[in-house]
């Protein structure tokens, strides 16, 4: 029962939200020049611009977007944040030396690790691997999963049966276990090896989301209208289905991005992620665990940054979902 109530109220809100453009129409259908009340007609507002309008007013979006922006800059130009190399280590500098918490943004700010390298510098330089992997896995997953989901959903029949079974098969492989099996067969593992491994195992979620929303949109009246005009499959897919199916996929992808960063960190932590000399948060956390009793800060700071990053992407995805949710419109 509450559901029905909610819809009713939503309807009322929607009815009241829609600004009535001010054409009055006389009984013979000709526009009359008198205003049927309502505010001055607003600018053209697409659903995307409406969503953007909502987002700009959301603190959770602003905070997460700001953090992500800083992370992206860190990944692109780490030199802006620190002057020391993450690899130059002075073995005389002990990791037991306490961090100088008041020396903001200085190499000694967050202390040193066992090799005498600046933890702060390593965190900055480690961002790149995480961001590249997170973003490129997401892009690959959206392309691969999106295409497969769209084809399966739109064409249905045997193609859907085949693609859905393939999706199920991949979904059956445990994500991390599968990635581990894949990665141990490589001697050196670069950012790209890890990316491919995660993308190969991660596309299934997107494919399912895409398939579901395409099936719903395929049956909508506006697709029916396009078909009755004689529109070809390509036009229907690109102009009608894709723009409308994109919203849920974007949301899922944004939330998944945080997950891919986690996965990379976990793999590196287990020693089968990026191989040396690559710098990554997961790898540093792995190396730090041996001294956790004497120097917990070596493990703590990269972990905090990792958590903040993941949380930011989750928050962003959440905010975007709220803004794109057509039910609130």
């Amino acid at each position: 029962m509450p559901e029905a109530e909610a819809t009713n109220v939503n309807k009322a809100v929607r009815a009241s939200e829609a600004p009535e453009p001010d054409t009055a129409v006389t009984e013979d259908g000709q526009p009359a020049e008198m205003a049927a009340s309502g505010p001055v007609p607003g600018k053209p507002r697409s659903l995307w611009s409406d969503a953007w309008h909502d987002l700009r007013r959301k603190p959770s979006f602003l905070i997460s977007a700001a953090i992500i922006l800083v992370l992206l800059v860190m990944a692109a130009w780490p030199g802006l944040f620190t002057s020391v190399s993450p690899r130059s280590g002075d073995l005389t500098t002990s990791y037991l030396q306490k961090p100088e918490l008041t020396h903001f943004f200085q190499p000694e700010w967050l202390g040193y690790n066992q090799q005498g390298q600046s933890i702060y510098a390593r965190m900055i330089y480690g961002t790149r691997a995480s961001i590249i992997i997170g973003v490129s896995v997401t892009v690959l997953v959206v392309l691969l999963g999106g295409t497969i989901g769209m084809l399966a959903g739109y064409f249905g029949g045997w193609l859907d049966a085949l693609l859905s079974r393939i999706t199920d098969t991949f979904m059956g492989i445990p994500f991390l276990l599968g990635a581990m099996v894949f990665l141990v067969s490589f001697d050196t593992r670069t950012v790209w090896t890890v990316t491919v491994a995660l993308a190969l195992l991660g596309w299934t979620t997107i494919a399912r989301v895409m398939r579901g929303s395409v099936i719903a949109i395929k049956q909508s009246d506006y697709v029916m209208a396009a078909r009755s005009l004689g529109a070809g499959t390509g036009r229907i897919l690109l102009r009608h289905v894709l723009p409308n199916a994109a919203a849920p996929v974007i949301v899922v992808a944004m939330i998944a991005l945080g997950g891919y960063i986690t996965a990379e960190a976990v793999l590196s932590f287990l020693g089968i992620g990026l191989s040396d000399p690559a710098i990554s948060w997961g790898g540093d956390i792995n190396r730090a665990q041996k001294q956790i009793r004497v120097a917990p800060h070596v493990l703590l700071y990269p972990s905090i940054l990792l958590s903040i990053t993941i949380l930011s992407f989750l928050m962003l995805g959440d905010a975007v979902r709220d803004a794109l949710d057509p039910k609130l419109r």
Binding site: M1, T7, A12, A15, S16, M34, A36, S37
Partner: protein, 344 residues
């Protein structure tokens, strides 16, 4: 305050009274004034039809009475809802819940989404008795069968364990009615109860509702956009436009001699079944946006009779009299020119 006191009939006090209710919704464009000073009363055994188009505030008023208004974005900005003379808006949440569960029930338009698809109808009907009356599972089920019989669902005993999707639209709406009746409420609010149904089924459901209302001596509020559907069962009608009541009248009176230009236009724009007719009369323009209701009379941009005064002064809901000044009884119109509308 004890329950006994609430139950007592207080002479001269209406069963349910809405007094000068104001409800707003917070929207991006500003406050949408969905209900702007609505007042009406329902007595036991009486049927009030609230007629209006989408956005007229008819459903929001009902949701406010039932306490199912989403707040936020909704906000009650004024007015009283009196149940047997007690303002429900001033009661504690607990007291309010007791009245809303026991004394006032609601029937929704879409029975399929109002029923839980994973529970049998017998369970959902019985739940009312288990929760509110503390009955055992077995007693509750027996009661459920009895109710299903009462709303004339064939083979109620066999069907009590069926799920909502196994019933047709008309039967589901009967189950909704049974659910509303379960605790023998004093007032039932039906929000477009037959809109989702086919015409041949509409008549069955409406007749059933009218019959039950008579038998149980309930007050019934019928919310509708279609005067034809409720005309047979309603005693009086309140017509709503842009969050206000613009006219009230007994059913027959309203159709014969509407006293508000909006009502008049609405009735004239309905095509007729008994002859073909020429071009339809159409009210020009659109209902106003609730964030920018016109000054003066809200209907002024669409009204063929509008004069200067309509753009400056909001007409009060004033009593409508016969041409010679005699009373008509139960009629009121919120139009500066009601005399010209009804008698001219």
């Amino acid at each position: 305050m004890s329950i006994e006191m609430t139950k007592a009939e207080v002479p001269g006090v209406p069963l349910l009274e809405v007094r000068d209710l104001h409800v707003e919704f917070h929207t991006r464009e500003g406050a949408a004034k969905a209900v702007n000073g609505v007042s009406y009363t329902v007595d036991a055994g009486e049927t009030l039809a609230v007629l209006g188009e989408s956005g007229s505030g008819k459903s929001v008023t009902a949701q406010t009475i039932m306490g199912i208004l989403d707040m936020p974005p909704g906000r009650i900005t004024g007015g009283e809802i009196l149940f047997r003379g007690e303002d429900m808006l001033k009661m504690s949440e607990e007291e309010r819940q007791r009245i809303r569960g026991d004394k006032i029930a609601m029937i929704f338009q879409d029975a399929l989404s109002a029923l839980n698809p994973v529970l049998s109808v017998g369970y959902q009907l019985g739940e009312m008795f288990r929760v509110h009356r503390g009955m055992s599972r077995k007693e509750a089920k027996a009661k459920a069968v009895e109710l299903m019989d009462r709303v004339r669902i064939p083979a109620a005993k066999e069907r009590v364990n069926d799920y909502p999707h196994q019933f047709s639209g008309g039967m589901r709406q009967r189950i909704m009615i049974a659910m509303a009746l379960a605790l023998e409420p004093d007032v039932i609010i039906a929000d477009e109860p037959t809109t989702a149904l086919d015409v041949t089924v509409q008549a069955q459901v409406m007749d059933l509702l009218a019959e039950l209302q008579r038998d149980f001596e309930m007050g019934l509020i019928l919310i509708t956009h279609d005067l034809g559907v409720v005309a047979d069962v309603a005693d009086k009608i309140a017509v709503m436009y842009a969050g206000r009541i613009v006219e009230t009248a007994p059913v027959h009176e309203l159709y014969k001699r509407p006293a508000h230009p909006y009502t008049k236009g609405l009735l004239e724009s309905i095509p007729r079944l008994d002859h073909k007719g020429k071009e339809l009369y159409a009210i020009q323009g659109l209902p106003p946006s609730l964030t920018a209701i016109p000054q003066g009379c809200a209907f002024n941009p669409r009204c063929p009779m509008a004069q200067d005064v309509c753009f400056t002064d909001t007409p009060p809901l004033a009593e409508v009299l016969e041409q010679d000044g005699g009373p008509i009884g139960g009629r009121a119109s919120a139009c500066h020119f009601w005399k010209e509308t009804i008698h001219g």
